[in-house]
């Protein structure tokens, strides 16, 4: 039987091309997923602030002891309203007026405060503007910051740890009591709302 060009195309060329396309797509899909979801986004901040040192409780990578400061000491808004709030520079100065004043990063911070210059932190976690996420309802129901933000107390430089897609929200909203059985009695945790207006309005 004579092999025609068509036969060659149908038997070899087409399947191979398809395979390559599908494989490329699949690989790209999985490889780029974190990137697309902004997972691992780790911008350089104006002050080299370490959550590991302030919030952590174990020895940090550079050998200092973590201080275990509660998240809400700085992020005061988190139980009060929609926004967690990045602390005012004043809050840093509560300690750093006297603590570690010899370090260059602290001197940088003090300069911002003294000159009343706006301190522009790079925003890491961001939801689209049509989403009205509310920190307080989650925190007041006993959910830990780490559920969404990852092990923030181990990060010397903060990066986004988890994807912030609507499917991630819904995954938890639908299964909250199963995921956090200990909170059901403690804070009255129920399933989260799944209706549009809960987050979009």
């Amino acid at each position: 039987m004579r092999k025609s060009v068509l036969d060659y195309i149908l038997r070899i060329y087409l399947p191979v091309t398809l395979l390559i396309v599908v494989a490329t797509y699949t690989v790209t899909y999985f490889v780029s997923r974190d990137e697309r979801y902004h997972v691992g986004y780790q911008p350089t901040q104006p002050i080299n602030y370490s959550h590991e040192l302030h919030a952590g409780t174990v020895k940090t990578s550079d050998g200092r002891m973590g201080m275990g400061i509660d998240c809400q000491y700085c992020h005061t808004g988190v139980s009060k309203g929609r926004h967690a709030n990045v602390p005012a520079v004043e809050t840093c100065m509560n300690c750093h007026a006297v603590a570690a004043t010899d370090r260059p990063e602290i001197q940088k911070l003090t300069a911002y405060y003294k000159d009343n210059k706006p301190l522009e932190w790079e925003r890491i976690h961001k939801l689209p503007e049509h989403v009205y996420f509310n920190h307080s309802v989650h925190v007041n129901k006993g959910l830990a910051c780490q559920e969404c933000h990852g092990p923030i107390q181990t990060m010397a430089k903060v990066a986004q740890a988890k994807p912030f897609m609507m499917s991630n929200c819904l995954d938890c909203h639908r299964n909250a009591p199963q995921r956090y059985p200990h909170l059901v009695n403690l804070t009255g945790l129920k399933k989260g709302p799944e209706n549009c207006a809960a987050c979009h309005r």
Binding site: G77, L119, G188, C196, R201
Partner: protein, 1001 residues
């Protein structure tokens, strides 16, 4: 076969509809007008050719690449350096303050977010307003963020000057020996009033004038002649069983928040107190007239005869005019007058006659006599309005103008006033002003007067100012700034102190606060007699927004019978009479720059962005005038050409025109809107400057299209003529019959059966009730909704296409004949139906139902098919045909300063998206957040929606319908409660309380 229950009345919304005009019927059948989508003209939209568009695209793509640091860039977070204690990002902070209008001031609670005032409500602790606020005060937020506010001191041509230069010029004039005239509106601040007196004590040649187009000077002058004191007492509106309003819009233009609340408290089906009965005798159909139980159509210049007739009928010897002769001459309804006389006789001490501000002094005196006869002094309260400075009389203003012309005036300083526009042309104010060496306008924005002034100096907005106001005895309001001055403006009090000190460098922002505190310490603190020291007293007053103290008011003396005989009877005629009125939207013109107000439909005619000459049906027929026809109105040698509007329910031979339009210098929004009817005003001696007899009306050539929301979003019921009888969209019953047997007014007509299983709502389910008896049709709810929900202004051309974006619609239905219509009002918003017809047709499931009973709208899913709107039986969905913020008035409202006004809790919708009332879901979510925070279940009473919050008469109730104890449940179960279009089985969640007319059974 069962007989179909026929309501007795046929309702109609416009004359065209009643007459069966094909356009009107067409408009009802199609929510979106024919050709509504035709005008997407690329040329008009951008004015860009294809080639230029591509070039621009290429350039912007390149630009975007260079400017983009990273697609991951999420922007910056900039915390405070020093945290203000009160501010928690994302939580509102409330401050009590005062917002002023030209003639009034309201005690308000300002909601601020991160230092920006975003919304107002009435101050709930204030005994006067009790948490209510009207639309005009809400609209003042727009003024704070108005991109065209004066931003720096300037000359008339817009060239900027320094404050120092202006101050020095003014100081020079003050130190000269020529007169310096200060022209104010109403002065309402006691501390500023004292400062003015100090000012006059130092600069002897300073004279102060108070000039407004409308005022209630007639009432006060008449009161003084009748009772020997010019302190007109506040009235017990809530204790009057019978009210007769004579050309008085006491529920509308002449209202204040208290009157509306007190009146509505006697229209409450839930209260044990019986309804009051409202008689209105008026020439035009006013907002008050819409609410009347009985209405008499009467020329304004015949009001005197009516009052005299009533006096005679009630047995007063002072009048020889018999009522029968008035009835005959004016063609009044005998039955109505008979019941009026019977009611007045039967309710001694509980009947009140109230004459409108515009009526001549003699009518007010006659009314005082009538009230005396009726024992109305039982309804006078021990409180009175405070007038620190009475309105300057026309004679005094003329003397000023003559002095200006004679070169005797060295300087004129206008404070927020606009006499060049306001005063009659024949007063010659503009020419006189040109002869004055130094003219200054202190204002927030440009005006006809500022255009003729040497210096135009910007003043702070109310929310940037310190101040105090007193409109009632024993109630002293205090104003505090809630935002730092946005522009290089100055505080009025501070400016006058600077000039008082005689040093232009003396100004600083604290001057007015220091003066205010000093005044309060010396004048208010001793009166209030608090137990605390001054500092605590001051802080408490600041926190509350007001102080109350006992302040005795002189009792009005007995009625002086001679006053009536001394009064000169006003002339009455048979010719046309022009009745000039304040505009419901733009006031006297001072609010013409406010797009929000311009776009709220007129409470009666539903016209937006325009004024017109309202004429009666009969007169229109005689002269062959139709709505939109241009007509010429002539009074003496003054005439004006403007469009006519055929108004049902008007007295014949009356032409009603609203002033406040046709501004020539009012910024992008206000300039050239409507027709300047101030040209009809005259400087000549007259009994009332606003009622002009011997007028002439003639049809002119041409047309001017009046834009109205009248038939927009009309109910789709007229496929068959009789269908609207049976649909019962608005329902009404007789109050007297209802009293005898409430089931007379039974409105629940349908037993609804479902073929599918109904969804059960556990927990909270939201619902609303609107009490048609309390609603007076003021439209404050629409304004509150606009402010809360970032509703855009679309402009008259778009309203004309039926594209207004207001989430609330105030439907006005006429019933009866065009000559003598009765009116029913209905607030129409999204009904949040349990079986919502819109939800089932959405191809992308953008609109669906929430477990707490909300019909929710996900803007991001919406692809703009408009199927939902087509399928909505209530016509409450609004579609963004454009990005209206960008489209309206050359992107006027996209300017940076205006962006600050948006509520951050609500999405700013863009083009191609459907939107509608959300039941203020952001407030519901806020209440839920707070409930979770306080570890308690969410209650229905936790949520107050925006429209409910401001409603001056408390007609709107909102809450949890699953809670049997809640107010809303009681309304839902009430015998007069009904749902609109119940029979389509949409199961709406807005309950209407049927209108109960308190006519004789």
């Amino acid at each position: 076969m069962q007989q179909i229950h026929k309501p007795k009345l046929k309702y109609w919304q416009a004359l065209e509809e009643l007459e069966g005009s094909p356009e009107a019927l067409e408009a009802r059948a199609h929510e979106f007008k024919q050709g509504v989508t035709d005008d997407f003209d690329i040329q008009e939209m951008g004015g860009v050719s294809r080639r230029r568009f591509l070039a621009a695209m290429g350039a912007s793509a390149a630009f975007a690449l260079t400017s983009c640091k990273s697609y991951l860039d999420h922007g910056k977070v900039v915390p405070y350096n020093n945290q203000t204690e009160q501010i928690v990002i994302g939580r509102p902070t409330f401050f009590a303050s005062v917002v002023t209008g030209r003639n009034d001031a309201a005690s308000v609670l300002v909601r601020t977010r991160e230092g920006r005032p975003l919304n107002l409500t009435g101050n709930p602790d204030n005994p006067f307003s009790q948490g209510r606020v009207s639309g005009h005060f809400l609209a003042s937020l727009m003024e704070l963020y108005d991109p065209e506010r004066l931003q720096k001191p300037q000359k008339a041509d817009g060239n900027s000057v320094t404050w120092k230069e202006a101050d020095e010029a003014i100081l020079k004039a003050l130190q000269g020996d020529k007169q310096v005239a200060l022209v104010f509106n109403r002065v309402m601040s006691p501390s500023f009033h004292q400062l003015l007196q100090e000012f006059q004590a130092k600069y002897k040649q300073v004279k102060v004038y108070s000039q407004t187009t409308f005022h209630d000077g007639m009432r006060h002058a008449a009161w003084k002649k009748s009772h020997g004191t010019d302190v007109f007492p506040c009235l017990h509106w809530d204790k009057a069983d019978v009210i007769l309003a004579l050309e008085s819009d006491f529920l509308g233009n002449e209202s204040n928040l208290e009157i509306e609340r007190l009146y509505a408290s006697r229209r409450d089906v839930m209260s044990k107190e019986h309804f009051n009965r409202l008689y209105v005798a008026e020439g035009n159909l006013s907002q008050t007239g819409m609410n009347a139980d009985y209405r008499l159509r009467l020329r304004p210049d015949a009001q005197y005869a009516l009052v005299m007739g009533l006096l005679n009928e009630l047995g007063s010897s002072a009048s020889s005019t018999t009522l029968a002769s008035v009835v005959k001459e004016q063609g009044l309804s005998e039955t109505v007058l008979k019941s009026l006389v019977a009611d007045l006789k039967a309710s001694h001490g509980k009947a009140l006659v109230y004459a409108g501000d515009r009526l001549p002094e003699a009518v007010h005196i006659a009314v005082n006599a009538l009230n005396d006869l009726l024992g109305a002094s039982a309804l006078y309260r021990d409180e009175a309005e405070v007038h620190l400075m009475p309105a300057t009389s026309a004679a005094d203003l003329n003397a000023l103008i003559a002095a200006m012309k004679g070169g005797e005036v060295g300087a004129v300083i206008h404070v927020n006033s606009n006499p060049v526009f306001d005063l009659p042309n024949d007063s010659g104010y503009a020419d006189a002003l040109a002869k004055v060496a130094l003219s200054v306008t202190l204002a927030q924005r440009v005006s006809e007067t500022s255009a003729k002034s040497t210096y135009v100096l910007p003043l702070h907005h109310d929310l940037e100012s310190w101040g105090d106001y007193k409109l009632h005895t024993g109630l002293h309001l205090i104003q505090q700034p809630v935002i730092l001055p946005i522009h290089d403006s100055r505080h009025l009090g501070g400016l006058f102190e600077t000039w008082l000190k005689g040093d232009s460098a003396a100004y600083n922002e604290d001057l007015s606060l220091t003066y205010l505190q000093d005044y309060w310490q010396k004048q208010v603190y001793p009166k209030a007699k608090p137990l605390a020291d001054f500092k605590s007293f001051w802080n408490a007053a600041l926190h509350d927004g007001f102080v109350q103290y006992a302040e005795p008011v002189a009792k009005p003396g007995p009625f002086r019978a001679a006053a009536l005989s001394e009064a000169k009877a006003p002339e009455s005629g048979k010719e046309f009479v022009v009745l000039l009125g304040r505009s419901y939207a733009t006031g006297e013109g001072e609010l013409a720059h406010n797009g929000w107000l311009q776009e709220v439909p007129h409470p009666v005619t539903k016209v937006v962005w325009d004024n017109y000459a309202a004429v009666s049906v009969t007169a229109a027929k005689e002269l062959g005038i139709k709505t939109d026809d241009l007509v010429t109105v002539t009074v003496g040698n003054r005439s004006l050409e403007l469009p006519a509007l055929v108004q049902p329910g008007m007295a014949d031979k009356v032409i009603a025109i609203e002033l406040g339009y046709g501004r020539s210098v009012a910024g992008t929004i206000g300039t050239g809107v409507g027709f300047n009817a101030n040209v009809l005003l005259s400087n000549a001696e007259q009994t009332s400057p606003w009622i002009l007899g011997k007028a002439n009306l003639a049809k002119a050539n041409g047309k001017h299209h009046l834009v109205t929301t009248q038939l927009h979003h009309a109910f789709d019921v007229d496929r068959e003529q009789n269908l609207q009888f049976t649909r019962g969209i608005v329902k009404e019953a007789n109050y007297q019959k209802y009293l005898k047997d409430p089931h007379e007014a039974e409105m629940h007509g349908h037993h609804l059966v479902n073929v599918t299983k109904m969804h059960t709502y556990e927990g909270v389910k939201w619902g609303m009730a609107v009490d048609s008896n309390k609603c007076t049709g003021c439209g404050s709810c629409i304004m509150a909704c606009n402010v809360e929900n970032n509703v855009p202004i679309v402009g008259p051309d778009q309203v004309n296409k039926g594209r207004e974006m207001h989430w609330m619609r105030l439907d006005r239905y006429y019933a009866g004949t065009p000559e003598e219509p009765s009116v029913t009002l209905q607030v129409m918003i999204c009904q949040h139906c349990d079986n919502a017809p819109c939800e089932v047709v959405c191809p992308v499931n953008a609109t669906n139902h929430s477990p707490d009973g909300l019909n929710q709208m996900a803007y991001n899913r919406c692809v703009g098919t408009r199927y939902c709107s087509n399928n909505c039986p209530y016509k409450v969905r609004r579609f963004n045909f454009f990005d209206y913020r960008d489209r309206f008035a050359k992107s006027f409202y996209t300017q940076e300063v205006h962006q600050l006004q948006h509520n951050p809790e609500v999405t700013v919708r863009s083009r191609g998206v459907m939107e509608k009332c959300t039941f203020c879901v952001q407030r519901i979510m806020w209440a839920r957040q707070e409930a979770i925070r306080e570890k308690r279940p969410l209650k229905g009473s936790d949520v107050t929606v925006a429209c409910q919050e401001v409603c001056p008469s408390g007609a709107i109730v909102f809450g949890d319908v699953n809670d049997p104890e809640s107010d809303i449940s009681k309304y839902r179960k009430h015998v007069t409660g009904y749902h609109v279009l119940e029979e389509v089985n949409a199961r709406p969640n807005v309950t209407y309380v049927a209108k109960l007319r308190n006519t004789h059974a």
